[in-house]
């Protein structure tokens, strides 16, 4: 679900400096395209999350919101969510706004499924027999719950981050977001099982530097 590493992106663009390309990827390797949307040295944000109580076992996501508009970057490839065994797999995923999801009924028996979302966008994607799928682009950031109206234990959750500038917090509380264009951002948290008030704090990203922050999650 993440972008190609910056090094691969650079190779594709034929660049030789420590820069990342923000904009559409070229269709082929070779000479640099005549217009690049934005070339900039990047920075990174890393740090540690401290918890007012035991760190929850369920995923915690750190993400950045860019002040003045989100990053113009290639979207990750489509995420496939399978339904075999009347379970969404994966049952939780982080997407990037503008990323496509393929809901695929891969049951090997004659079992239909329905998919609908509640939350930031509420939509019914229809009924699928085995072998059928539907594609949808999640354009707006936010949390979405996935359900099947047929099977009562079939549920999942998606978090759509504003851009690819996100990272899951490790069990030891550390996180790192790399290859971010310089600028002013707001660092925010998302908890799949919300145990603390979510944090929001400003962070500045400078070219070639690593900004280190401490995020406190408290009740």
């Amino acid at each position: 679900m993440r972008l190609l590493p910056a090094s691969l992106t650079l190779a594709a663009a034929g660049l030789s400096t420590a820069a990342a390309v923000w904009g559409p990827l070229p269709r082929h390797a070779g000479p640099p395209p005549p217009v690049l949307h934005e070339i900039a040295e990047t920075g990174s944000v890393s740090g540690r999350v401290t918890f007012a109580a035991t760190r929850p076992r369920q995923p915690i996501i750190i993400y950045l919101e860019r002040q003045g508009g989100e990053l113009d970057a290639p979207r990750p490839a489509a995420l496939v969510i399978r339904q075999k065994g009347a379970s969404f797999t994966p049952s939780f995923a982080v997407l990037v706004a503008g990323q496509e999801v393929v809901f695929e009924n891969d049951e090997d028996r004659d079992i239909d499924h329905n998919v609908y979302t509640l939350g930031s966008e509420e939509r019914d994607f229809g009924i699928f027999s085995p072998g059928k799928s539907v594609r949808h682009t999640f354009s707006e950031p936010g949390e979405f719950s996935l359900y099947c109206s047929i099977h009562k234990l079939m549920d999942g959750k998606l978090f759509v981050a504003p851009s690819r500038a996100w990272s899951e917090v490790a069990q030891d509380g550390t996180f790192a977001i790399r290859d971010i264009p310089p600028g002013s951002y707001t660092l925010k948290t998302y908890q799949k099982a919300r145990r603390f008030r979510d944090a929001a704090q400003p962070v500045a990203v400078s070219a070639g530097k690593e900004s280190t922050v401490t995020v406190e999650l408290a009740r």
Binding site: S87, D124, S149, H151, R195
Partner: protein, 239 residues
């Protein structure tokens, strides 16, 4: 997925029933019929409320249990509007028991301003950390086996109750914006008596399903009856 078992005892006072006396001259009645239905185009299961799966032996897995729309429970119905006051029938105490014998998605209804006290009891064999956090309110308790704790939530909203020891716990807590709130089941007529006259928003929230709402005007001496469609059939459908 294993799910924590939940047993819910509800001690509610003043729930209205469908056999209502005529409305009083100075107040209104509101009756909400809960009409639940499966999605259009979904065939009924072949047998036993489950899809058969697993080969020639027709083995069945719990994960294939189907939603029975004739038997939906924990449907929250509440009224929203200025001047309703706090004389509504929302429960003043609730008890939630957490065990290990499996359960479906449950939904709890609490009155606002901490008027409902929720007792959470750990009936599981190990400790359980149970928490719910909203934007302005929440609780977080860790219970040893056999232990229980009483919590309140003051701020209206929807809270997802979670358990650190089991990601499968599926309980939603709704703190209604007014005390004019009740829990019903599919097929019920949920009745509110002695509703102060004025504009009222009726909101219905069933577990895992989109909310339904309707604005009515409660008029003194009159009964307002509406049917709430519970299900996914009114959702926007993807092209």
């Amino acid at each position: 997925m294993k799910r924590l078992g939940l047993m819910l005892s509800l001690i509610a006072a003043g729930c209205g029933g469908p056999d209502l006396a005529p409305p009083a001259a100075d107040s209104a009645q509101i009756v909400v019929a809960l009409s639940a239905s499966a999605r259009d185009g979904v065939a009924r299961p072949r047998s036993g409320g489950m899809d058969n799966y697993g080969g020639g032996s027709e083995a069945k897995g719990r994960q294939f249990s189907r939603v029975n729309y004739d038997d939906l429970a924990d449907i929250v119905v509440y009224l929203e509007g200025d001047g309703l006051g706090d004389a509504g029938p929302a429960p003043r105490s609730l008890r939630l028991e957490i065990s290990e014998d499996g359960a479906d998605h449950r939904q709890l209804l609490l009155a606002p301003s901490g008027l409902t006290s929720l007792t959470i009891a750990n009936r599981a064999s190990g400790p359980r950390s149970v928490f719910a956090m909203g934007n302005q309110d929440g609780f977080d308790v860790t219970l040893a086996p056999g232990e229980e704790s009483r919590v309140t939530l003051k701020v209206p909203g929807t809270y997802e109750l979670a358990c650190d020891e089991d990601a499968g716990l599926a309980v939603t807590i709704i703190v209604a914006p007014t005390t004019w709130a009740q829990i019903g089941e599919a097929g019920d007529d949920v009745a509110f008596d002695r509703v102060p006259p004025g504009p009222v928003e009726i909101v219905v929230v069933a577990p895992r399903l989109p909310r339904w709402s309707r604005r009515v005007t409660a008029a003194a001496g009159r009964r307002e009856s509406v049917t709430a469609e519970v299900g996914v059939n009114s959702m926007t459908r993807a092209k």
